[in-house]
Symmetry: C2
Subunit: 344 residues, 2 copies
Amino acid sequence: MNTPDAMLPTDAGKFSCWAGRRVLITGGLGFIGSNLALRLAGLGADVVVIDSLVPEYGGNPFNLEGDGLDGAVPPVRINVSDIRDPHSLRWLMHDRELIFNLAGQTSHLDSMNDPFTDLAINGAAQLSILEICRQHNPGARIVFASTRQIYGRPRYLPVDEAHPLDPVDVNGINKIAGESYHMLYTRVYGLQTTALRLTNTYGPRMRIKDARQTFLGVWVRAVIEGQPFEVWGGEQLRDYTYVDDAVDALMRLAMAEDAVGRAFNLGGDGVYSLADTAALLASVSGGRYSIHEFPAERKRIDIGDYYADDRAFRTVTGWVPRVPLEDGLQRTVAYYRRYVRHYL
Amino acid sequence: MNTPDAMLPTDAGKFSCWAGRRVLITGGLGFIGSNLALRLAGLGADVVVIDSLVPEYGGNPFNLEGDGLDGAVPPVRINVSDIRDPHSLRWLMHDRELIFNLAGQTSHLDSMNDPFTDLAINGAAQLSILEICRQHNPGARIVFASTRQIYGRPRYLPVDEAHPLDPVDVNGINKIAGESYHMLYTRVYGLQTTALRLTNTYGPRMRIKDARQTFLGVWVRAVIEGQPFEVWGGEQLRDYTYVDDAVDALMRLAMAEDAVGRAFNLGGDGVYSLADTAALLASVSGGRYSIHEFPAERKRIDIGDYYADDRAFRTVTGWVPRVPLEDGLQRTVAYYRRYVRHYL
């Protein structure tokens, strides 16, 4: 099979309305953004992506330009710019019907080491995007990528949207601000914003250099390099979304009635302990792993168990995950076995 | 009586520990900050105040330097600088034992008209204060002035600290971030932070030029100028803290055991409708007022009724309000009858 997953035809009937739609994706050379760009371009949308290509973040030109597309280079316009630059944003946003606002600083440790940069990207730049929409493109639909990190350590499980927000790092505080600005601009100015609180998303095109995006990145890298990967703890419960399912969720949210002004959890196909996840990855890849005690400096900002109650989102959009964790891990390993050199 | 309220001796036994304490007050030429500076200086503390004197904010040199002190000029060191300037902050903060962090942008409408400035002051500058403490003065006690605005429209009354945070303006979103950074820096780095969520504070030295600090400001100004003041709505319920009681609360919080890492509501001596408040102000001042329908553009960011459940704070600190609303309004009117020219 040479066609990447994201190029497979999807519910064509439901999404035929994507043809010709003017779409902007911030963070569009990143993991989820590039998968979304490929899917939308394949459906005939007019896709512009913005990405800053900050080396520590998720952007990677190979995601949209490389031979990972097997020659099927999609008609996506790539614009390298930073969402902290309001001038380029204004021009790029002014005629877009749909804005998938995925750009962000996602590393929890980076947010503690440099909280000002995290605030500039996850706070001030989000305000800038919304101000530009308000002034120059008030009719655009905006889908914001939020995160489970805003809940902090769960007080009950599964975590629904009414759970208190009490994050354990600067990143979580700033993501609350970013999401809240979106909801506020709907309430006060009538902008068409929605938000999706993502859990662990994984799959082809994720960052595997380090754990800045997801711990699964470094696990997969170790597998590909023939090294044992390290599991910290093991009993913590998590849920996972395969990237194609996350893309499907974002697209459904963009089109859903009754979603404007609301933020929804997104979950996955089930709940897994880290140890179970590791065993699954090892079994699909032939990889090895070792389990270690959780280090103290990570424990301060660890959240314990987490899994989402995403029934509200499923009700509003009809979304269900199609790719079970085992399949998703298999596809992910297959991708990186071919293309790992572009991700190191 | 020539001594301003804030210079009156207060529970000298309890607070004798203030003599010689090295205190910094951000926003110290403002309303609450200047009253606090006077009280602490009167108790023998070594007080430095920082204020940016941005004309639209609460800082007013008359609050600490003018003839409103009746010659009893307190030994307060005034440093005009902006909390957005980390260099001056670093020097001014490095040897302080107690930091009352009161500087902020408080206007809800200004936060909507210029959300970036609100974020720079209420978000980024707060991070800067905490980073400086962490790096150069980790033992300082920090008392942060938070606000009831973070709750948004109350879902139940009275509002306790477990009430969801869902603010109706950019100011509220950024104040959540500012408060959350404080709590996080205690949790992660062990800084000694506490926060007090203030309701309507009023009294001598408040801004009366406009409603940027509290609607009571413009009401009192109209009374002093012999004009009727305008009441919008009238049925909304509110609670009020006389500034001397707010100062007492901040001082108690600075000293309280079991307060570190926690944010508390502060209320007042009771619950009043706006119409009742107006009638009380008119009766103590001989002023007149008219009641008008609530304008649509304010309604979008109005919060309806609010009053605080502040039992947690009273339990931890022993605080009780001493100045009923009627007395407080009378003292406020008396102050502005003498000094109004310095506040216009």
